[in-house]
Subunit: 202 residues, 2 copies
């Protein structure tokens, strides 16, 4: 989303321009189709500079794979402390606030599409989620099956991103974001604190 | 999943072999990477035959994009008639029965990955779901916001496919299928018959 042309090839400016172009292309075209050349072109730099700074498309992807928020701050605020019966509502509101802003949406869509496109990208996304999100949720929720609960929440979030932003199912795609938050919140709450049925620890 | 080699190039046998190879490749490698050549190779036929029978990769994709069950039979059985408070449980059991069989799982994963990979495939998947599933759910559920409810259910199903089969989040990916059905059923039920919050028709 950063500026795409007329860039001066200063060192950090160039890296940032390449990163911004990579995020945009991975988000809009998946992991497979963007090339180091197409990313360089969009960033307005020579393809050799992409190779110089990042080495490979894979390494560039690893570099830009990150969440559009700081989980070390966000997860304790959402999942820790009191008001456990409101976690679903808090989480739904937070997700909407991230997804309804173009930069956050673009990053999340890029992660989802990359995860769907090939096993290596899926592995990186899985490791990112496990390390940055699930581990922290487990720590904050303090219940035995917290990792499974976090997985289930992730399944709903990924599915919502696919249905609303990637596939564009109607009427979901055109609904006001706050209505979606209201519809989804009780289900997130159920996954996080409700009974999960036979075979689980609760 | 059908036999992959040693095939005799009879007319319908050849078409079926090409279709089976296409389903497998679209499922495993997404929409972008399989080529008419790679599909022909897997089917054990000359690439010219793929072009002869299907015209283009796009047309071949359209030909094999279908659901692994007959929605005209399944949707009325799941959503129509009595026992509305058990729709979530019925639907969850049905989904598990489809997804835990390799052919059904392969088709659904193929749809999800194709939808994530590029806008044209996403449009086809959207049209397939709208025509074959959502329209029928709306007819059976007979509530004003049934289309939105069907979208929300689809978001959870797509997300589950992504989380369990494509990204392989743990422990979700290793859980017994019936435990997942039990965890997901109440959420499907909420989407189908529960209050969706402000801004909806219920």
């Amino acid at each position: 989303m950063a500026a795409r042309s007329g860039r001066r090839p200063g060192d950090s400016g160039t890296r940032d321009a390449i990163r911004a172009a990579a995020i945009e292309q991975f988000s809009e075209r998946g992991y497979d189709r963007p090339s180091m050349r197409s990313i360089a072109q969009q960033a307005g730099v020579d393809p050799a500079l992409v190779k110089h700074y990042f080495g490979s498309k894979h390494a560039l992807f690893v570099d830009v794979v990150e969440l559009p928020f700081d989980p070390a701050l966000v997860i304790p605020a959402l999942f820790g402390g009191g008001g456990r019966d409101q976690i679903g509502a808090r989480l739904a509101s937070f997700l909407v606030s991230v997804l309804e802003q173009p930069p956050g949406r673009q990053r999340i869509i890029g992660l989802v599409r990359a995860a769907a496109s090939e096993p290596e990208a899926a592995r990186m996304v899985r490791e990112l989620l496990t390390r940055e999100i699930f581990a922290r949720v487990v720590e904050e929720l303090r219940v035995d099956d917290a990792a499974l609960r976090a997985n289930l929440v992730a399944s709903q979030v990924v599915g919502l991103v696919m249905a609303r932003y990637v596939v564009g199912l109607e009427p979901l795609a055109s609904m006001p974001a706050e209505d979606i938050a209201a519809a989804v919140a009780p289900n997130l709450q159920h996954y996080l604190t409700g009974p999960l049925g036979a075979g689980t620890d609760t």
